[in-house]
Amino acid sequence: MSGADTALLDVRGVSRSFWTGGLLSRRRIDAVKDVSFTLTDARPEIFTIIGESGSGKSTLARMILNGMTPTGGSIAFGGEDLTTIRKTRDRMRFMSRVQPIFQNPFESFNPLSKVDRYLTMTARNFTDARSQAETDAASDRALRKVGLSLAEVKDRFPHELSGGQLQRIAIARALIPGPRLIVADEPVSMVDASLRVAIVNLFKDLRDELKVSIIYITHDLATAYYISDRIIIMQKGEVVESGDARAVLDNPQHPYSILLKNSVLSPDVPDDDEPQTIERDRAARSY
């Protein structure tokens, strides 16, 4: 790993705990425990965070997006500690360089406003564009990067577009400020299997052509294998395994990683005389 001065994102020993329960039954939940990793500026990559629901993936993502402060450790973006960002101007500058993409495209758009409004507002807030013509041009440029055009989406409401299209618009929106890092929290889990490939291919293009680093949070090991460079596997807030994505997924070492890999349903059908995977599992269960 190169020195701190070239680090795009430096996550150091980050923890986050929550307190629940009443006065007498307070209980601490450690959502994220001592997570460290670094993304370098020189080489954009797709960095995948894998884990089951409740493993702390989304909490980690929110801390990287500066939507939540860690209770331990520090996160620095471009050498600047996130806790030092206090002024609105600094916050806007940070937001223009780190952009989120959320899980459910049907929920991330307001059903009552037209989708191009999101593009226009982002262009107005984060770029120099002021006039309608300028924001339209910025929106169109971003949409063309994801294989759409402004003419296709202008004056359309979210219900008129498919989930795949909406997710691509969400990605286009995230591209308008020209970010260095995109944090995508389960971007394909609500998208049809047939459209998933199109979206993850788009992430590859963003990395290779626009040099944007992507933190890809998912529980889908197959797409993770398909696109990621490096990977960390989280269980109950802790990183249990990390390294080169292909190496880790080809040959997982930690029991939890092995369980995850074995739980993935293979899209191959068994031979005629063999029972299906689910059936074999059932026979193997001992009760």
Binding site: A193, V200, N201, L265, P267, D272, Q276, I278, D281
Partner: protein
Amino acid sequence: MTLHQLNNHLNSVPETAPTSPALRVDGLKAYYQTRWFGITREVRAVDDITLRIEHDEIYGIAGESSSGKSSLIKTIAGAIRPPLNVVSGSVNFDFGTRKVDLYSLKPEERTAIRWKHLAYIMQGSMSVLNPLRRVRQSFVDFAFRHMGLPMPAFLRAVEEHLLKLHLQPGVLDSYPHELSGGMRQRVVIALATVCRPGFIIADEPTTALDVVVQKSVLTMIREVQREMRASILFVTHDMAVHANLTDRLGIMYAGRLVEEGRTRDLFRNPRHPYTIHLIRSLPRIGDAEPRKGLEGTPPNLADPPPGCRFHPRCPIAMDVCRVVVPPMQSLGGGHRVACHAVTGGTVQ
């Protein structure tokens, strides 16, 4: 009622050997029809679907969102409300002890067979269970009147059923929010199968779950099915689930069935270009070869393209595809496909 009698009640399997398929759908058309200011608008969500589901089999339906999967299962379950109307066709169930033509029944008769003979496992277990009632009360609300047992016997039957599904009867005392997503989905499956229905419809029951939980829920569905010898209509867009669970598979595109066959045949030798795309585009661990997504968007069912509805996105579309609707033709071995490129359609 003694425990022994109760067991007999629970295990009673119809004596007569069924001969007709568990479900026969013939030329079913169900459209969303609205009329505003004299302008009629029709969305052809289910368009001329014919299929058979045998006893003791899991039949899968695959297709992308807005392909009419949900409208089809709503129509099959008899749970439709205007503006969705059945335009033509029939839905016939054979529950072993009783044969039913769903759309010739009175609404109250239809309600009576639901849950007892025909159960429905819904997507999003969070919204199925009432958050303000304990799981036990949900069981009472849904199943009590269909079981016809006195309350103490009913609750004993419920507990036995849970034990059979490897769930602790303790979950009955929980509120839904106290259970994890996977556990809630398992409770919903237990709820749907407590009356031992002959036919179960499962609508994307594992879509929101992570891989580990997904596999255990699927194993449970398979176990329930094997134990009760029920038929299941299993709907999901996840082809990997179909490969691992279903016996036969139907592929839906834009309100029509485009291909159908044994799951294994379909995966090994898909014939329709859409099926080929669905199967080939799946990424898998250990294979990082670039894959291509499907271009274009699903058609608007209010104004579907003429001829084959897949032709605007089809890589091998011919002239005939733009004009003539391809009929479903048999390729032998129960494999049917609706594609001119396979069955050799020409322009008349």
